[in-house]
Amino acid sequence: MASSSTNSPCAACKFLRRKCQPECVFAPYFPPDQPQKFANVHKVFGASNVTKLLNELHPSQREDAVNSLAYEADMRLRDPVYGCVGVISLLQHQLRQLQIDLSCAKSELSKYQSLGILAATHQSLGINLLAGAADGTATAVRDHYHHHQFFPREQMFGGLDVPAGNNYDGGILAIGQITQFQQPRAAAGDDGRRTVDPS
């Protein structure tokens, strides 16, 4: 009796020591070079149960079903007590921890948004930072980085002389703070160079 097109049986029929028929339901998903994959599935679920499960599915769904069964079998053999439930529990734990950390970060960020003094000292930079944080978009961050290139370190304080045209609530307070910071640096020679804010 000649076999259809394969020289060797699939991993399932080889494991079960039986002839691999042309209509074998396992052959497309358990190639001969993956004997451990079927051994795991067989040990946890049983060949007859998997056969029944696959026969109830549409052929286009069987590959995903086999791969998920193989994953579950692997997890069950690694941890006979918890299996995949251990993975789910671990992920839920990580998710809860991340939600706590995220809540703390947002709470801390809101403190800085309400501090006018800090915003004043970093007026042209801080406003972009806060706007970027509030919007949560990468565009604001990129704009800030691009904006930063126009102000080398020596000109950082000169930039503060530009009148604030934005609607930032701390504008009045910021102007007052700028006045105080300007006095100690009256002797600086770079004050003469003023560049226009490109944004």
């Binding site: 051994a39 040990k43 946890v44 679920f45 049983g46 149960n49 499960l53 109830e56 599915l57 769904q61 995903d64 079903a65 791969n67 998920s68 069964l69 193989a70 994953y71 579950e72 692997d74 997890m75 069950r76 053999l77 690694r78 941890d79 006979p80 007590v81 918890y82 299996g83 995949c84 439930v85 251990g86 993975v87 789910i88 529990s89 671990l90 992920l91 839920q92 734990h93 990580q94 998710l95 991340l98 939600q99 995220l102 970060a105 947002k106 801390e108 960020l109 000292t121 930079l125 801080g126 930072l129 970027g132 949560g136 990468a138 961050v141 800030h144 980085y145 930063h148 370190r153 950082m156």
Partner: protein
Amino acid sequence: MSSSGNPSSSSGGGGGPCGACKFLRRKCVAGCIFAPYFDSEQGAAHFAAVHKVFGASNVSKLLHHVPEHKRPDAVVSICFEAQARLRDPIYGCVSHIVSLQQQVVSLQTELSYLQAHLATLELPQPQPPQVPVSSSGSLQALSITDLPTISPSVYDLSSIFEPVMSSTWAMQQQPRPSDHLFGVPSSSNMGGGGELQALAREFIHGGQMPAQPSPGTSGSASSVIKRE
């Protein structure tokens, strides 16, 4: 007579067979490994799912290799996976794993972004801060191989099974509304799946299932069963 006393039965020595033996229509002998976990009331329905997905003999062999004090947890996790497999024959509980994994990656990205901003705002002096632009393209590279392996030290099954224990585990196919694992309605075998199914399909096609050994040992029982 057929009714034999079972001292280890959890039904208070009622004398009837356990849920498993009732389902299998066999005599429930003393020392039956299923009796403590499948009572004669609700156990038959629970065992029906386990039997269909795993098979009674496979579960019996598995339980014999688990230490006795760990068997209740093993039975609960096996019942959970059996229910998930019957509800979604294609992906089973893997769809829950993939969905949770994607949520974790998404929150990690958002947290890194916020922490980068906080680091710049905490500068003590007015200096030009270096703001790293976090890449959000890493979500596309996530595949089934990124699914985590087991870390035994963080198990907390109460959050998983709290919504399950409050309702019956009967094999009813109606969806169970809940914010937890059973929040997704069941889908038919032939039709397109829901959101969880779409996620699982995408990640399963992304790569082979992970086969690397787990770094942490998962107990003495696994060394008996695990074949390397």
